[in-house]
Symmetry: C2
């Protein structure tokens, strides 16, 4: 039977099932939802079993459980590991939701609920695609492993732990993840790069107490002066990072990469006015998508010290604080970058100010060559369903687990996402366009059959 017809006939049933799952408030960050997270894992395990998968297992961890399932009856064919997550973000502020976040509602061919696009909706499509092939044909064209976690929204601590302890069971020829987005409606994308991340907190201390600017102003160090001059030294006046060696392991943009970026067709003027900016800003000689997709950045996320109340307070603050994160690309090593920044800060701190640095998160950038056959097949599958070949993009964000999979399993990771950028991920009124639910099911079928 034609899969279009199959999915058409089963659409209502599928959406009712998805609504059930979306009704479970599996918020991983909030301990009062621990039981809900467990319920969402059980629901998932049941559906995987009903779909015909085998060795379905809920794997307990120190935190929320992992869910595993497999169907390994295609000897000689590649093995695909499908990763996703069944946990969701918190829902505050609740009053901004048009319909309650855990009472899924369909309006204008979109399904509204927390988790609709990120990521239950997309995980659900893979289950239904596999189920469809098994029901229609009795066997799968490839070997499949499902590996779905419940802690993606809290940085996957136990998944990383599980992977680091040896992941023989997860061995695969490719990892398939649907947790990203099309460029826009009708314009599919395969993400071939994610930036890495590192973070640090910086404190500057001067005197042992705040001082009166009348009695001491001009004669003692001011922690805020020390901090702003220190932070200002981190960039040149074009926004390029001034830390020695920061760009050492950044690859120059090849003409082919520039061409892929240009294909995204981002209109900078539209972007600028949409953000209410007088001008975009960044390193010379790069377009916006190149800056965000292929160049590293060092951002001040927070700076504070001294008086923040109304009016005037003639105080010389004894301390100041800054929070910094970097997005990393190519071969930049997060630890190396943190060490270079720390060295820069220690060299540039003014006399009389004491520096305290706490290094934080570290995640490598992810990159994959778009010419890899697994990615080309994915682009083909998109083209057959959407009528437009997927563009290979570099995303400026960070999904640390992607690089970890790629490294630990030594397998290509295919980021084949069906969301849209404006579906309110992590925000009120999260939704998922059902056009991409329908087309996505067919695209997955096409992809599995093409491998």
């Amino acid at each position: 039977m034609n899969y279009s017809v199959y999915f058409e006939q089963n659409r209502e049933l599928h959406l009712e099932e998805l609504k059930q799952w979306l009704s479970i408030p599996s918020i991983s960050a909030l301990s009062e939802h621990k039981e809900d997270v467990n319920r969402a894992a059980s629901w998932l395990a049941d559906k995987l079993t009903l779909a015909g998968l085998e060795n379905v297992e809920i794997i307990p961890t120190q935190g929320h459980p992992l869910v595993y399932a497999e169907h390994l009856h295609a000897p000689g064919k590649p093995t695909l590991l499908i990763y996703g997550h069944y946990d969701v973000q918190p829902v505050d502020p609740l009053h901004l939701w048009q319909t309650p976040p855990f009472e899924p509602a369909i309006r204008d061919n979109k399904i509204y609920a927390r988790g609709a696009t990120d990521d239950k909706g997309q995980v659900f499509m893979h289950i239904k695609a596999v189920e469809a092939i098994l029901r229609q044909e009795g066997q799968l064209p490839v070997n499949i492993k499902f590996f779905i976690e419940g802690e993606e929204e809290v940085s996957s601590p136990n998944l990383l732990d599980y992977l680091s302890k040896g992941a023989d069971r997860l061995t695969a020829d490719a990892v398939l993840i649907s947790d990203t987005a099309l460029i826009e409606k009708g314009k599919p994308a395969i993400c071939t790069g994610l930036r890495g991340l590192c973070s640090l907190e910086v404190a500057v201390h001067t005197a042992n107490t705040d001082l009166h600017s009348g009695s001491f102003g001009g004669g003692v160090p001011n922690a805020l002066h020390a901090m702003v001059s220190l932070l200002a030294s981190l960039h040149d006046n074009q926004g390029a990072v001034s830390v020695a060696g920061f760009y050492d392991d950044v690859e120059p943009l090849s003409p082919a990469m520039k061409e892929e970026f240009a294909k995204q067709g981002v209109d900078e003027e539209t972007l600028r006015t949409g953000l209410g900016l007088e001008t975009l800003y960044g390193e010379d000689d790069y377009s916006f998508v190149e800056r965000v997709g292929a160049r590293p950045t060092l951002e001040l996320n927070g700076v504070y010290g001294g008086f923040q109340g109304e009016g005037t307070k003639t105080v010389i603050p004894k301390e100041a604080h800054a929070k910094i994160t970097c997005r990393l690309v190519a071969n930049q090593n997060p630890q190396d970058i943190l060490d270079k920044i720390e060295r820069h800060l220690r060299e540039h701190i003014q006399p009389g100010a004491r520096l305290e640095i706490i290094q934080g998160e570290k995640a490598n950038a992810f990159n994959i060559d778009p010419s890899h056959p697994m990615l080309q097949s994915a682009a083909d599958a998109f083209e057959r369903v959407y009528g437009t070949r997927a563009v290979f993009t570099k995303d400026g964000g960070s999904i640390p687990i992607v690089e970890t999979f790629s490294r630990v399993l030594a397998a290509p990771v295919v980021l084949m996402g069906f969301g849209l950028p404006d579906e309110n991920l992590h925000a009120p009124n999260e939704h998922f366009h059902l056009e991409n639910f329908d087309k996505g099911l067919l695209t997955i079928i096409e992809y599995l059959k093409a491998l």
Copy 2:
């Protein structure tokens, strides 16, 4: 009769009277104490009358009343305007007071109460000194006007208004104020300089919303980057102010001034270790007391923007804020300085960031030549009682009313204070050393007789 003996005999009575006044919680900043402030003014007017002063008047204002009194029966002799204030600071945090702030207590020859040294105790001494002369001799050696306000702790809005409307009644040959301190026990000082003040608030705005550093980092302006580079441009790396023309109206330090500063005998090493500093910090070629007493300063009192919580947030803030005050010296005009700073900021703001500047307070610096006979007589009076000639100091703080008196009345202002620097002004356990109460009474008598 010898005045030492007189004050000795009346000491207990005087201190009981002072305790009465200190018991009235005349906190000008808190509207619930409005009636207490009025009571403190009435108490003062009664005491001035009882002391023998004439035309005693409680002058209503939009806020708290002014109290005026005079004794003008010394034709051909100079007229002295004695200024002070009867309002006090709030008392929080109350639990840190060893005895309640409005239940005056004497311990170790110090009187503890809010207002003990700032400024009821010092105003009270002038009343008792004038009363003593009138009782002992029936007439004063000079003409005296008392002019005591109830809003000093809230920046004297109505006094300034009163002065600006013409102050014929206040005409005097000198203004005498006791609201400052000795350098240390046994080491009297006459303050001949106070720094002026100006303030401004600066905001930097970039996009119309906070942005995700993954999706936008490196491609858009970051308000914090714009702010720190802007603020860092305000100083060179020695702490000198980089604003064009900032020092134009600052007088170079004369050898005589340097000598007066050296006389203060501040030990910089003791100061440094007391503040827990690795090093003092400021303009080259100036000592600490010179930097604070004779050099202007531009201080960042508060800077804030972006994320201040625990952990990491990969946000690109859309705005950042700074609070700035300057202490001014010599002929620096606060409005001129504010305009120069504003020009500097507008010239140095990075592309893509929008600047918002709010100018705030403005007060001129005060300076008087120590060779003025009115000041030399004051130093003589100190010497006769303390056995040590008063040092002429420049204070880094600002008392805007001093410069206003000096300008509006075209009269020298004699800052003859009897407090000590560690008497917890504006803090819990404010107190006044009775040694300086006793010696101060005699010093005032000596001064009035010497004029």
